[in-house]
Amino acid sequence: MERETGAREGLKGWLNPGKIGKFGIERLAWLLMRLTGLGLLAYFIGHIYETSHILDGKAVWDKSLEMTQTTEGHLFLALVIGMCVFHTGNGIRLMIAQMGYGIGKTERPDYPYKPQSINMKGKACIYATLGMAALAMWYGMAVMFA
């Protein structure tokens, strides 16, 4: 039987930092979109579990809230804020691009071929989203650690 090696890269194709260096900020945005999506899903499940403690009475509820009042809890919540802002901002960018806006216009390609869909507008949006996420995390931490 013919063996198939190298048929798929698997997770290495996602997580390899060398790929981000070679394929640029769009690839980083793609990776962060996936990771923040998974992170927010995990947070959502955890959040449902945590808030379900309210059914066990005030004492249990207060105790579960205490978990978020620690330094680690604050850092975790700041991370959630960052994930949320990035996922939302980048999601809006993707929705606009996927509707065909901001990706350039079809034309006869001339050498040296520059892909129009990978343009400065898109890059600027990614940097702005990263900046907003960092700003939101900083503000969240300023409030929580005040």
Partner: protein, 258 residues
């Protein structure tokens, strides 16, 4: 007796035939039909400023190791045969000059996301079958050959042609599928090459097969698996920009485009 013109003789005597520069070519070797061993073999090859990676590989095959497995044909970025990973990025070996890589060590590996046949040659059956799946030809009921008036033409304006012409430059080299992160995880994803070709024919004003093609790509491992990482467009050697084609194709499914 034939004599060489003095000027030509002078030019010939001044022609430099030996190279002063060399690079180390690291070639990934494997033969899955024999065993699962994978290793890198190093070769030092002389280069000139015009030497391409394919030239260097053929130099290795001619003088150092005849057994290196590499697929190539036209040597001018037209056939799409010599796709491989060069210093970690998918590229055509014949279209990549070593002097432009700015490195003394060049690593060449088979393309990711394809089964390896041997060394640098990969099996492209899956890409070709996905390409066929999107029906890469003009579909319509009538014909250019008319019984009454003979041969006629399906006319197009330059604007009509501009809508799809860049996507018709695809040489099926498969670099886009190799760079795509979704292809890395999803073995049934149709891939940027086939999706861009679906757009190429749907956007063609002569074609009437839009609904048939949209039905093929509108499935769970079809167009919706693309998340616009853009890596396909960055490696395309012909300026096809598959990422743009895929986003425009979505417009038909979302009802934004007719």
């Amino acid at each position: 007796m034939a004599t060489i013109h003095p000027k030509l003789s002078e030019e010939l005597s001044q022609t430099v035939v030996s190279s002063t520069k060399s690079v180390k070519l690291k070639i990934k070797r494997s033969n899955p039909n024999v065993n699962s061993e994978q290793k890198f073999d190093d070769f030092v090859v002389p280069i000139e400023k015009w030497t391409t990676v394919l030239d260097a590989l053929l130099d290795v095959k001619s003088h150092l190791d005849h057994s290196v497995g590499v697929r190539y044909s036209c040597r001018q970025a037209s056939c799409g045969s010599c796709g491989m990973k060069i210093n970690g990025k998918p590229a055509l070996a014949c279209f990549t000059k070593i002097s432009e890589l700015n490195s003394d060590s060049i690593t060449v590996e088979p393309m990711d996301n394809y089964p390896v046949v041997r060394d640098l040659a990969v099996n492209m059956d899956r890409m070709i079958s996905n390409h066929k799946k999107v029906m890469p030809y003009v579909i319509r009921e009538d014909s250019e050959i008319d019984a009454e008036s003979g041969i006629r033409e399906f006319l197009q304006s330059p604007e009509n042609v501009d809508k799809y012409i860049q996507f018709s430059s695809c040489i099926k080299c498969g670099l886009c599928n190799s760079a795509c992160p979704t292809m890395a995880m999803d073995k049934t994803f149709v891939g940027p090459q086939a999706l861009a070709q679906a757009y190429r024919y749907i956007a063609d004003s002569r074609d009437k097969g839009k609904n048939k093609r949209l039905k093929v790509i509108d499935e769970s491992h079809g167009i919706w698996r693309c998340h616009f990482a853009g890596s396909c467009s960055q490696v395309c050697p012909k300026g096809v920009d598959p990422a743009m084609g895929i986003q425009l194709l979505r417009g038909y499914l979302l009802g934004i485009r007719d």
